[in-house]
């Protein structure tokens, strides 16, 4: 087990709290019509996200999916421009052109979240290819779900990066459902075991609610990648507490309620708070941290609410680098 500084562990808790508070607020805002469209929250999956993002260095890259806010928050992206993006404001991290599904913050190595399930997996492989060709020591990580694990492009990517020993980590967030579909009904075998077919390590983190367990697994894969030993597939078993997307009410009872109850008892933030307290931090200090993060989210919402809508002309730039329109 790696030994982590107090400061680092507090930062882990802070980032998990940020994701929770940001997503809880975003959920409310969707339901009140303050965020157009919908959002997919990472509530319940914070340990899986932060254990991975904090195992990456500042210059490392990552790509992600529709369950999109946790990834940049976990990588250290400031909350204000993220919230403004969710609201479609001009100060949004993508100028209001991406929205929740397409957050990207290149300043923290976030190469973009993808609304197309599985589509961003080879983007991380490409970032790893850049590192290898240019002789940099950066690595790249692709976040994707158990649903995306059944997209063919994952296997093309594992094969190519395996033969080239690219510094990439394929991180499957197995929250056990793809929308309404239980993973076990559409997934043959164990996802992590699929790595064996490509001659690369496949790791299953059974307790994805334990941020330290996730961190340890991803850190090992990152170290391996930096040593030039190639990719790793990591499957983290976790659970989403909310609906697939906010505002969605699936008529069918696709998730047994006792299952959710059991996972609620394994709340990653509560578990890590207890761990920190057991290791000498006071409950008061933990409460203060939580209050601090809530204030950060308040400030992010205030920043966003006070931000102007983008100018109409913004809709017509950024298509190409050299002119507004190519034609």
């Amino acid at each position: 087990m790696v030994t982590l500084t107090d400061e680092f562990m507090l930062e882990m808790q802070r980032r998990m709290l940020r994701i929770r508070a940001f997503d809880e607020r975003a959920s409310k805002m969707v339901k009140r019509g303050h965020i157009p469209g919908t959002v997919h929250t990472s509530i319940g999956q914070e340990a899986q996200v932060v254990g991975a993002t904090m195992a990456l260095g500042d210059n490392d890259y990552m790509s992600g999916n529709h369950r999109s806010h946790g990834h940049p928050i976990g990588k250290g992206s400031p909350l204000g421009p993220l919230m403004a993006e969710l609201q479609g404001k001009g100060t949004g991290v993508c100028k209001g052109k991406g929205g929740s599904l397409h957050l990207a913050d290149f300043n923290v190595g976030s190469l973009g979240e993808s609304g197309i399930v599985g589509s961003s997996i080879p983007i991380a492989m490409g970032a790893a290819l850049s590192s290898q060709v240019l002789g940099r020591d950066t690595v790249a990580l692709a976040f994707f779900g158990d649903g995306a694990a059944n997209q063919g492009v994952l296997y093309e990517s594992m094969n190519m990066s395996g033969t080239w020993k690219l510094p990439v980590i394929f991180l499957c967030e197995n929250n056990q459902y793809a929308l309404s579909t239980p993973a076990h009904t559409v997934t043959s075998g164990v996802i992590a075991d699929r790595a064996a077919g490509f001659g690369i390590p496949g790791v299953r983190v059974e307790d994805g609610q334990d941020v330290l367990a996730v961190y340890a697994a991803v850190s090992e894969a990152v170290a391996r990648a930096r040593r030039g030993e190639g990719p790793t597939l990591i499957e983290v078993v976790t659970y989403r507490y909310n609906e697939h997307s906010e505002g969605l009410r699936l008529g069918t009872d696709y998730r047994p309620s006792d299952e959710r109850e059991a996972w609620l008892k394994k709340d990653p933030i509560v578990l890590f708070r207890e761990h920190l307290i057991a290791n000498g931090h006071t409950a008061e200090a933990m409460d203060a941290l939580e209050a601090e993060v809530l204030a950060e989210v308040d400030a992010a919402v205030e920043f966003s609410e006070n931000s102007p809508w983008p100018d109409a002309s913004v809709g017509f730039d950024d298509l190409y680098t050299d002119s507004e329109y190519a034609a």
Binding site: Y61, S63, G92, V93, C94, K95, G96, K97, G98, H102, A104, D105, F106, L111, G112, S114, I116, S119, S120, I121, P122, I123, A124, M125, G126, A127, A128, L129, S130, S131, Q132, V133, L134, A140, G152, V153, E156, S157, N159, M160, T163, W164, D317, D318, L319, Y320, T321, D322, S323, Y325, A326, A327
Partner: protein, 340 residues
């Protein structure tokens, strides 16, 4: 200057770009063995022109048959500092990578508010006219004209291929280049020095006053042959090759039609929603008053491409068809059903 084939000119542009910038890499199937003849400077593997010997396997990336993965990797690499040239061999294989091309390559810069740039070139050959049957004969460039965010070049001469490809490689936006295989052997004097041809600037191959022919890809050669034949009959034909379809040099086409009053558009792609349809619509919208005759499109029909040489040949516009069309718009022949 030296005599280069169309294929040799592509190889030369790739070599120049590889020499000029270490961030340029070539990635694709069978690129190492120079199977398609553009990764050996026009030479075979054993000769000194071989790209693998010159640049090594770090920059010449021979891939598995995984088009989606290849294009996705190129997109990710382009967003993080490389300038990949992706060799997709046959243009029919672009469909395997449709998600990456349309959802990632074309959209990322815009979606992410300009944070990403996507300096990647996607090369593919259109094998039509060579009896390869329906799975290898596609001319799919019009589909991609419908995808904002991509730039598209369709060179028709060795010089244009070299100069445009070099510009494409050095450009910060994604470019799809469609190379007609029946042009591969076409030879002409090409500048050996580095040169860059601008996108969005059409080439007027031949000036004329009676009819404008806008021709695309291999149709340019057919149009030039038709124009020579018509000259003997006293018909003066202007032949314009847009060279890039996105961006499109509308002004050159509009100016020409304003002068001639007649337009024939020729291309080897399917009829519906093709480049010819788009160009016709632009002309009808912008210079309708100049038109002295209805616009004529000569295209492939909306039909699959058959294998038999006896069946395939009739599918693409030919010199004779172009001559007929020009005679019709100049009133030298009675109107008959065209193109379909």
């Amino acid at each position: 200057m030296s005599v280069m084939s169309f294929l040799g000119a592509i190889g030369a542009a790739q070599k120049e770009a590889m020499d000029a910038d270490d961030r340029v890499i070539i990635i694709g199937e069978d690129v190492e063995a120079n199977v398609y003849g553009t990764t050996g400077g026009g030479k075979t593997r054993q000769e000194t022109g071989d790209f693998v010997q010159m640049y090594g396997r770090n920059r010449i990336r021979n891939t598995p048959i995984s088009e989606e993965g290849i294009v996705g990797a190129a997109a990710g690499a382009a967003m993080t500092g490389l300038r990949p040239i992706v060799d997709l061999s046959y243009s029919s294989f672009l469909y395997m990578a449709m998600d990456q091309l349309v959802n990632q390559v074309a959209k990322n810069r815009y979606m992410f508010g300009g944070q990403a740039s996507m300096p990647a070139v996607f090369r593919s050959a259109m094998f039509y006219g060579l009896n390869t049957g329906a799975h290898h004969s596609d001319r799919p460039y019009p589909m991609f004209m419908n995808v904002p965010g991509l730039k598209i070049m369709v060179p028709s001469t060795p010089s244009d291929a070299k100069g445009l490809l070099r510009t494409a490689i050095d450009m910060d936006d994604p470019v799809l280049t469609f190379e007609a295989c029946i042009l591969w052997g076409l030879k002409e004097e090409v500048n050996d020095d580095e040169f860059w041809l601008p996108f969005g600037v059409a080439r007027t191959h031949r000036e004329g006053t009676d009819v404008t022919i806008v021709a695309i890809s291999s149709s340019v050669q057919e149009a030039l042959a038709a124009a020579a034949e018509l000259e003997a009959e006293g018909v003066s034909v202007e032949v314009i090759d847009p060279r890039t379809l996105v961006p499109l040099d509308k002004q050159a086409i509009l100016n020409s039609v304003a002068k001639t009053g007649r337009l024939v558009v020729v291309e080897p792609a399917h009829r519906t929603c093709g480049a010819a349809g788009e160009i016709s619509a632009i002309v009808a919208e912008e210079v309708f008053d100049s038109l002295k005759a209805p616009i004529v499109r000569l295209t492939a029909p909306d039909m699959q491409i058959p294998f038999s040489p006896a069946l395939e040949k009739q599918m693409y516009p030919s010199k004779d068809g172009i001559v007929d069309a020009v005679r019709r718009v100049t009133g030298q022949a009675r109107l008959v059903a065209v193109g379909e």
